[in-house]
C-alpha cells in the first residue's frame, strides 16, 4: 500500500474517521487513549500485512523481545544482566537483518572468492530469501529503544501496545523517518484533540510529498532507468543527464515519502522529525550529511559513531570511527559492494573535508564577493561528488558503475538527441530548488507563515493535485527506499 495510491487514500480516510470520529465519542479519557492506540496498532499491522502478511510475525517477535528486554534492562541492578539483555535485543534485531538482507550477500562473496581460488569453479551457495519490507527501519527503531534504556536516557514503556505502536506506526513503518522512542512514546501519553490538528501544515507536507514522488520522481525515472540499464550506449552528455536525473529522482522519491509520512502523522496528531533539509544546497559533504536522511545519519552518529569513540581519542581513531560508520551506513542501504563503496567514498570525503576545514578553510577570512564565489564553487564540487557517488548507489554492477564514471569524465560522443525542453526543465528545477529553500526555510522559522497567504496556497494545492492526477504515472513505482 503505497501512499500515492487510491487504496491508501481509502484506508486512511477510514482510519481518520474512526480515530477522530468514532473513537472520539468514547467519554472516558483513559479508555479513549487506550482504544485509539490499539486501533492505530491494528491499522498499522493491516497496513504492513498488505505487503506480505507472513512477515507480521517478524515485527511481532522483534517487538516482544525488545519490550521485555527493555523492561529487564531497566529493572536489573547488575550491569552484566543489563548488558545480557541489551545484547539479546541487538542479536535478535541484527540477526533478522543479517539473515533476511545480508545472507545472500555474504554467500555470494564467499562464492566469488572461492571461484577465484578453486580450480573447479568454486562454491555456489544461495538461499531463497524474501526481504521483508521496511526491516532496516523498524529493526533500527526497535534497537534504539533498548540502547537508550541501557544508557539511562529513557525509561521503558509500561504499556506493551504503546511500544508496539512505536515500532510499527504505519506512516513511517516501511521507509522512515527513523523515529526515536524518547521522541515518539511521550506523544502517546496524552489524549489528542481534533481541534489541535494543523490541517494546513499536514496538507502542505502531504501534497508537496505527492508532487515530489508522483510528479517529479516517477516521471524522471525513465531517463535514469534508460542510462543505468544500458550505460554503454550513452555518450558523456547523455550519461550526465541520466545521473543528474537519478539524483533528482532519489531525492524527490525519498523526501517525498518522508513528507507524506509527516503529513499523514500530523493528521493523526503525531509529530515526526524532518528527514531532509534541502540537501542539494549543501556546500560541503559534512553539510550534505546534516541535510540528507537526517534520521539515519543521526541514528548512525548516536548509536554507532559515538559508541565507537566518536571524535574522542587520536585523529586516526576519529577517522577510523567515521569510516566504519559510513561503510556500515552504506551497507545498510543494500546488500551489495556497490553500497559499501558508496558509503566508503562519503566516509573518505568526510575525512578529507574535516582535514581541509581545520587546516585551510577555518584559517581564511573571506570578504563578501569572494565568499560568494567560494561558496558557489564549494556547492558545485559537492554536487559533482554527490552525483558521482549516486552512480554506485544505483548501478546494478561494478562494471556498470565504472562504465558510467568513464562516460562522465572521458569524453564519449553519441548521437543522443536531447530535447530543448529537458534543459528548460532542468533549469526550472534548479531555480525552483533555490527559491524553494527560501520558502521552506521561512516555513521552518515561522510555522504560522502558512496562514499568511492561504488563498495562494489553496490555489497552488489545486494546481498540484490537478498536475498529479494528469501527469502521474499509472503504474505506481514503488518508492526507491522500500528495498531497504
Amino acid at each position: 500500500m503505497i501512499f500515492s495510491t487510491t487504496i491508501f487514500l481509502v484506508f486512511f480516510i477510514v482510519v481518520f474517521c474512526v480515530y477522530w470520529g468514532f473513537l472520539g465519542m468514547v467519554k472516558d479519557e483513559n479508555k479513549r487513549l487506550k482504544v485509539r492506540i490499539l486501533f492505530l496498532l491494528l491499522a498499522s499491522y493491516y497496513f504492513y500485512m498488505s505487503w506480505n502478511p507472513i512477515f507480521i510475525l517478524l515485527i511481532l517477535f522483534s517487538t516482544l523481545v525488545d519490550y521485555f528486554a527493555g523492561k529487564e534492562i531497566y529493572n536489573s541492578t547488575s550491569k552484566k544482566r543489563k548488558r545480557l539483555f541489551l545484547i539479546t535485543s541487538l542479536v535478535v534485531n541484527l540477526g533478522f537483518l543479517a539473515y533476511f538482507k545480508y545472507a545472500n550477500f555474504f554467500l555470494d562473496t564467499v562464492n566469488q572468492i572461492s571461484s577465484m581460488v578453486s580450480p573447479d569453479g568454486g562454491t555456489n551457495y544461495f538461499l531463497n530469501i524474501v526481504l521483508p519490507v521496511g526491516i532496516s527501519f523498524y529493526t533500527f527503531q526497535s534497537m534504539c529503544y533498548t540502547i537508550d534504556i541501557y544508557y539511562g536516557k529513557m525509561k521503558p514503556s509500561k504499556n506493551f501496545f504503546e511500544f508496539s505502536l512505536y515500532v510499527s506506526f504505519f506512516p513511517q513503518l516501511v521507509a522512515g523517518p527513523i523515529v526515536r522512542a524518547k521522541d515518539f512514546i511521550p506523544q502517546l501519553k496524552g489524549n489528542k484533540f481534533f481541534k489541535d490538528i494543523n490541517f494546513q501544515l499536514a496538507a502542505n507536507y502531504f501534497i508537496m510529498g505527492l508532487v515530489k514522488k508522483v510528479l517529479i520522481a516517477d516521471n524522471i525515472a525513465p531517463i535514469s532507468d534508460a542510462l543505468f540499464s544500458d550505460p554503454a550506449q550513452y555518450g558523456t552528455l547523455g550519461t550526465w543527464i541520466g545521473v543528474m536525473a537519478y539524483a533528482i529522482q532519489i531525492y524527490c522519491d525519498f523526501s517525498g515519502y518522508s513528507d507524506m509520512a509527516i503529513g499523514v502523522a500530523a493528521l493523526l496528531g503525531f509529530k515526526l522529525m524532518e528527514n531532509f533539509n534541502m540537501p542539494y544546497t549543501a556546500t560541503n559533504v559534512t553539510d550534505f550529511w546534516r541535510k540528507w536522511h537526517i534520521s539515519l545519519s543521526t541514528w548512525l552518529r548516536d548509536y554507532l559513531f559515538i559508541p565507537l569513540g566518536g571524535s574522542r581519542g587520536t585523529k586516526a581513531m576519529y577517522h577510523r570511527n567515521l569510516m566504519i560508520t559510513m561503510l556500515l551506513g552504506g551497507l545498510w542501504h543494500g546488500a551489495s559492494w556497490n553500497f559499501v563503496v558508496w558509503g566508503g567514498l562519503h566516509g573518505l570525503a568526510l575525512i578529507l573535508h574535516k582535514l581541509y576545514k581545520t587546516k585551510v578553510s577555518d584559517k581564511i577570512q573571506f570578504s563578501k564577493a569572494p565568499y560568494v564565489l567560494y561558496n558557489t564553487a564549494s556547492w558545485f564540487i559537492t554536487m559533482v561528488f554527490v552525483c558521482v557517488t549516486w552512480v554506485f548507489f544505483r548501478a546494478q554492477t561494478f562494471g556498470d558503475s565504472w562504465q558510467i564514471i568513464k562516460n562522465m569524465f572521458l569524453f564519449k560522443e553519441s548521437d543522443f538527441s536531447i530535447p530543448v525542453g529537458f534543459y528548460l526543465l532542468l533549469l526550472l528545477i534548479v531555480i525552483g530548488h533555490f527559491f524553494g529553500v527560501k520558502y521552506f526555510q521561512k516555513i521552518e522559522e515561522d510555522r504560522n507563515h502558512v496562514f499568511k497567504r492561504p488563498f495562494f496556497q489553496a490555489i497552488l494545492w489545486g494546481i498540484a493535485i490537478f498536475a498529479i492526477l494528469l501527469f502521474g504515472q499509472d503504474d505506481n513505482q514503488a518508492f526507491i527506499y522500500f528495498q531497504f
Binding site: 494543523n198 494546513q200 540499464s229 544500458d230 562494471g399 538527441s417 488563498f455 489553496a458 494545492w461 514503488a478
Partner: protein, 539 residues
C-alpha cells in the same frame, strides 16, 4: 470550530474549485481540438492492450488453457498455479519477446498464430506446447521460471532461447521475484483434476479490488477522469509544439555522417545540387582561413581482422586556396589496441577541380579491428564536396565496402536497419551470462527427465546489414554456446539465420521510426521457426 479549521475548510473548497477550473479548462481545450478524437482512440487502444492481457488470462483460466503468460510476468504466479493439465506430451518454450511478439499482428488473440501454437498444431493433437517466454526476459528470470515450471510439471522437451540481447541484464521483475521462494505443487500427468482453491484471506486481492472499484466509480462520474490519458497525451504534444509550429523531431541528415567548423551543419551540408553518384553529397564551405572543418563517419568494426585494406573516395573542389589538409582521413584501430590516422596518398588538389578519385592500398604489420572515416578541409577557404567513400578490407580478395552510408544517400527507399552494437564490456557480460544459463540448463537436464535444448533465436540478416553489427562477436557467441552445450550434454538449435528480411518490419514510432527492427518477426517467421524447431527436436 477553531478559526484555523474554518480557514482550512475554505482553503479546501478553493482547492477543489481550482482543480475543477483547471480540469474544465483542459477538457474544454481538449474537446475543442479536432484531433481530440484521435487521442481518445489512442488511449482506448492502450487501455485495451493493458486490460486485454488480464482479460485473456481470465478467459484462459476459465477454459483450463493456460499455456502461456499474457501479462508479461505480472501474473506469472497465477499462470504457474494454473498451467494446463494434460496427459499429452509436453514441450516448454522459454525465451524473450522474440518468442511472444508478432510484429505484424497486435490483436488480442495473436497468440493463436505464435510459434508455440504453430508448433502444437504441427503435432496434430499429440502435444501441448507451453510458452513461458516474456518480453525482456533476463537470464536470472529464465532460471527462476524454468525452475518453477518444472516444479509444476514434467516436460518431455524443454527449449530455452538464448540470444545476446537477452544476456545483457540479470535483473528480475517484481512478478517473478515474488515467486522465487514459492514452492509450487506438482501436477502428475495422470492426475489432471482441477486444483482446489483453498481459502485464504488475501489482503492484496482485497486492496486491489477496492482500488479498482474506486477508480471505476470516479471514471464514471467525472469526464476528466474518463479521458485523463487522452488529455495527458494531448497536453504533452501541445507542450512539445510550443517549441515551434512543428513538434520536436530529429531533422533529416545523412545517416552516419557529422560535420563541424564550417558554414553548413549536418542538415544543410548534405546537399543534392552536386553529387558524384546517387543524388547527394557532403559539402564543406569555409570562409575563415584558420579553422579546421571536416565530415566524420561512424566507427565500423571489421567482421574479421585483416592487415590489408583499400581506402579511397571522391571529391570535387571550387576555389580552394591555402588549405593545409584537403584529404580523406581514416582512423585505423588495431587489434592490439593501438591506432593510426592515415591520410597519406589520399590528398586532393587545391583550386577548382571536377570529381577526382583517390585510392590507396594499405598493408600494415598488425591486424585492423575497426575503421573510422573522415574527410578533412583544414585551414584555407573554398568549397569542397565528398562522395562515395570506401574502405574495403582485403582477405583472399578485396572485400565489400564497410563504410556506413558510403554514397551518402538518404536511403529513403531503403529501410535503414536499427542494428545492435555493444561495447566490449557488455559483450563480456553477455558471454558470462550466456555460459551461466547453459550451465544451469545442463544442471536441470542432469536432475530432471526430459530433453533439453538451447535455441539461438532468429535475427535480421541481409546482404547489406546484420542485426548485430559486430557479426564476428555474434559468431563468437554462437561458438561459445556450442561448446557450452556440448559440455553440458544439451543440444544447440541455431535458428539465428533462419529468417530473411521479409520477416522483419520497421518501428512504428519513437526515435527509430521507419528503421527496420532487427529482433521481432511476424506471423510467417513464427511459422517457420515452429517448423524448424519440430524438425530439429524430433528424430
Amino acid at each position: 470550530m477553531k478559526e484555523k479549521h474554518r480557514l482550512f475548510l475554505f482553503q479546501f473548497l478553493l482547492t477543489f474549485l481550482s482543480f475543477l477550473a483547471l480540469a474544465l479548462l483542459f477538457s474544454a481545450g481538449f474537446y475543442k481540438d479536432p484531433d481530440s478524437r484521435n487521442y481518445v482512440l489512442a488511449e482506448k487502444k492502450i487501455a485495451n492492450l493493458r486490460e486485454s492481457s488480464s482479460f485473456v488470462l481470465d478467459a484462459l483460466l476459465k477454459q483450463n488453457e493456460v499455456t502461456f503468460d499474457p501479462t508479461n510476468g505480472v501474473s506469472i504466479e497465477t499462470v504457474l498455479e494454473n498451467l494446463k493439465c494434460s496427459p499429452k506430451r509436453k514441450i516448454l518454450l522459454l525465451g524473450s519477446s522474440q518468442l511472444v511478439t508478432l510484429n505484424d499482428d497486435w490483436s488480442a488473440d495473436n497468440y493463436l498464430r505464435r510459434v508455440d501454437k504453430k508448433l502444437e498444431s504441427s503435432y496434430e493433437e499429440e502435444v501441448v506446447v507451453y510458452n513461458l517466454s516474456m518480453g525482456g526476459m533476463t537470464i536470472a528470470e529464465k532460471k527462476i521460471v524454468l525452475d518453477k515450471a518444472q516444479q509444476v510439471m514434467d516436460f518431455d522437451k524443454i527449449i530455452v532461447s538464448i540470444g545476446p540481447y537477452d544476456c545483457r541484464e540479470i535483473n528480475v521483475r517484481p512478478g517473478i521475484e515474488q515467486i522465487e521462494n514459492k514452492l509450487f505443487g506438482h501436477i502428475e500427468k495422470e492426475d489432471c483434476a482441477p486444483m482446489e482453491q483453498s481459502f485464504n484471506f488475501d489482503i492484496e486481492k482485497l486492496n486491489s479490488e477496492i482500488e479498482g472499484g474506486v477508480k471505476k466509480w470516479l471514471e464514471k462520474r467525472l469526464l476528466f477522469f474518463e479521458n485523463k490519458g487522452a488529455i495527458k497525451m494531448w497536453t504533452e504534444e501541445k507542450a512539445k509544439a510550443l517549441k515551434g509550429n512543428k513538434p520536436f523531431y530529429r531533422p533529416k541528415k545523412a545517416l552516419s555522417w557529422r560535420t563541424n567548423n564550417q558554414k553548413f551543419n549536418d542538415v544543410t551540408g548534405w546537399v543534392e545540387d552536386v553529387f558524384r553518384s546517387g543524388r547527394k553529397s557532403l559539402k564543406i564551405t569555409k570562409e575563415e582561413v584558420k579553422t579546421n572543418a571536416s565530415w566524420g563517419g561512424f566507427k565500423v568494426d571489421l567482421e574479421k581482422p585483416t592487415k590489408k585494406i583499400v581506402l579511397g573516395g571522391w571529391s570535387k573542389s571550387e576555389n580552394v586556396v591555402k588549405a593545409k589538409l584537403y584529404c580523406l582521413d581514416f582512423k585505423i584501430d588495431f587489434v592490439d589496441g593501438s591506432n593510426e590516422w592515415i591520410y597519406q596518398g589520399l590528398e586532393f588538389e587545391e583550386g577548382t577541380n571536377d570529381w577526382t578519385k583517390r585510392e590507396r592500398v594499405f598493408q600494415f604489420d598488425k591486424e585492423i579491428k575497426s575503421i573510422t572515416p573522415k574527410m578533412l578541409f583544414y585551414q584555407g577557404t573554398g568549397t569542397v564536396w565528398f562522395d562515395d567513400i570506401y574502405a574495403r578490407p582485403i582477405y583472399s580478395k578485396v572485400g565489400e565496402n564497410v563504410i556506413l552510408n558510403a554514397n551518402v544517400e538518404d536511403e529513403s527507399n531503403i529501410k535503414d536497419v536499427h542494428t545492435l552494437k555493444f561495447e566490449d564490456e557488455v559483450w563480456d557480460k553477455i558471454f558470462e551470462n550466456a555460459q551461466d544459463m547453459v550451465d544451469y540448463v545442463g544442471k536441470m537436464a542432469s536432475k530432471n527427465a526430459g530433453e533439453y535444448y538451447v535455441l539461438i533465436p532468429p535475427i535480421y540478416n541481409s546482404e547489406i546489414k546484420k542485426g548485430y553489427e559486430q557479426d564476428f562477436m555474434l559468431q563468437q557467441f554462437k561458438e561459445q554456446l556450442d561448446k557450452a552445450c556440448k559440455n553440458n550434454n544439451v543440444q544447440l538449435l541455431d535458428a539465428n539465420g533462419l529468417l530473411d528480411e521479409s520477416h522483419f518490419i520497421e518501428y512504428e514510432s519513437g526515435s527509430r521510426k521507419g528503421m527496420i527492427e532487427p529482433l521481432h518477426f511476424g506471423t510467417k517467421g513464427h511459422e517457420k521457426l515452429a517448423r524448424y524447431i519440430k524438425n530439429n527436436i524430433e528424430p
